[in-house]
């Protein structure tokens, strides 16, 4: 969970906005979104009267502010409807995060929230990309955020998909691709990137971390072994293959894969799907890692937080270590060379990379980035 001080909050929100504010998803989303905007050299602090018609927002989430919602339910059940005040709706509606951001940025293009469980962040980037690629927008702030706490995570615990075996050793608990992985560790936060038409980015002379070559979003339809909670592997492979086709990239060009890899029993299945989709295995497989070992599974926030990590690796030519994977799962070791799962930070040139996210409901999203 991000630790946000009261001083930090005041860098992004006014005193008035913080009155009765209790929505962590929006808090994290606004901070990440405005940071991305700032990093892209866009200053919206001087409030122009007219919105920026070329600037939009696609910001995914699973839920905006469960704590605020809980607070509201208690008041309502006490017959205190009028005591909810004017901000309960804005803080609890799904699109609260994009609405807060849109207002702070003066965005005049599409401002929306998408929701596709753990695929939300990667989907948001592809939705923003489409809006620019089809000429409807010039700049799109894309990202996702995830709220935290027992009311968000309890349901996953009830399903026994979160680990309970490392309560005494929490830093070792999130173990993607490990033989001793025993479930995911829930996390929260937000990630964001500013997408922009290439011409515009070059004209502005800003840092270009990568070009979005293309991608694909699909669903396994909860058929062929897919379900609410399990992926249809054929759909996963199709999503990756079509993302490559859409990008005009050959599988052998992929230098690095930022996996979904949550540290559940499904990790070997994901590796199998990557091998099949890329038609690469053993030592021929690209480097792969999972950020979830370090920051947990941010659920709706995961895709965008991991995309930020992928772009930093691409930009700075390194592959971060898969901590907690000293014991590679034997089924995974049979499919790919464990050298491709770095346990120590590697400095290697990266050019073309793939990121995929898979979510409850049997939904998939895959995006391809290239350094320019």
């Amino acid at each position: 969970m991000p630790d946000i001080s009261e001083e930090k909050k005041r860098e992004y929100f006014t005193e008035l906005e913080l009155r009765n504010f209790n929505s962590n998803g929006i808090l994290y989303g606004v901070i990440a979104g405005l940071d991305a905007l700032h990093d892209a050299g866009i200053d919206k602090t001087a409030m122009a009267d007219e919105p920026d018609w070329g600037l939009g927002v696609v910001f995914g989430t699973g839920t905006s502010g469960v704590e605020k919602f809980r607070e509201a339910i208690y008041k309502l059940d006490d017959g205190e409807v009028r005591r909810l005040g004017s901000t309960t709706v804005g803080q609890t509606m799904m699109s609260g995060v994009s609405a807060y951001l849109g207002g702070k940025m003066g965005a005049g293009n599409q401002v929306t929230t998408n929701s596709s469980a753990c695929a939300s962040g990667t989907e948001a980037v592809l939705m923003g990309y489409e809006q620019i690629a089809t000429g409807k927008a010039i700049q799109m702030l894309c990202g996702s955020c995830g709220d935290d706490g027992p009311y968000v995570w309890g349901g996953f615990d009830a399903m026994k998909v979160t680990t309970f075996k490392h309560n005494e050793t929490p830093t070792q608990s999130s173990r993607p691709m490990s033989a001793t992985a025993s479930g995911f560790v829930p996390g929260s936060g937000a990630g964001a990137v500013l997408l922009e038409s290439l011409d515009n980015a070059i004209a502005r002379g800003v840092t270009i971390y990568a070009e979005v070559l293309g991608g694909n979003i699909n669903s396994g339809g909860q058929r062929q072994g897919g379900s609410m909670t399990a992926p249809n592997s054929i759909a996963v492979q199709k999503c990756i293959i079509e993302a490559l086709q859409n990008s005009g990239v050959n599988p052998e060009e992929i230098d690095y894969v930022n996996g979904h890899l949550t540290a559940t029993v499904k990790d070997p299945v994901e590796i199998e799907n990557w091998c099949a989709a890329l038609d690469r295995q053993g030592a021929d497989f690209p480097y792969i890692n999972s950020l979830k070992a370090m920051i947990g599974h941010g659920l709706a926030a995961s895709g965008s937080m991991e995309i930020v990590s992928a772009l930093l690796q691409l930009h700075h030519n390194f592959v971060f270590p898969n901590i907690n994977c000293e014991d590679v799962h034997p089924e995974i070791a049979r499919l790919i060379d464990p050298q491709k799962i770095p346990r120590h930070e590697l400095n290697v040139p990266l050019k073309t990379i793939a990121k995929a996210s898979f979510g409850f409901g049997d939904v998939n999203a895959c995006v391809i980035f290239r350094k320019i």
Binding site: T14, E15, L16, R19, R82, R83, G85, S86, T87
Partner: protein, 83 residues
């Protein structure tokens, strides 16, 4: 509680909801809350809740409708306290 005391407290509550380009010195007895002080109309609900807490009163919906200026708010509060 004197009228001056109520006015001072009312002013300190209204202050919270002023947009950045309106100063606390712009608040006068005849100021229109929305048209002159530029308070977001949805925030009037929050002003009322704060007044209820501060003065331990209850302001009904039809009274809220009549509360458009600082002085009309003052009047409503005075009437409620004196009852």
């Amino acid at each position: 509680m004197t009228k001056e005391d109520i006015y001072a407290q009312l002013k300190s509550i209204i202050k919270i909801y002023l947009p950045e380009d309106v100063s606390v010195d712009d608040i006068g007895p005849e100021s229109h809350l929305i048209n002159e002080l530029n308070i977001n109309s949805s925030h009037l609900i929050d002003v009322v809740l704060d007044l209820e807490d501060a003065f331990d009163i209850e302001i009904k919906d039809d009274e809220l409708e009549a509360m458009d200026t600082v002085s009309s708010a003052l009047e409503i509060i005075q009437k409620k306290i004196n009852n």
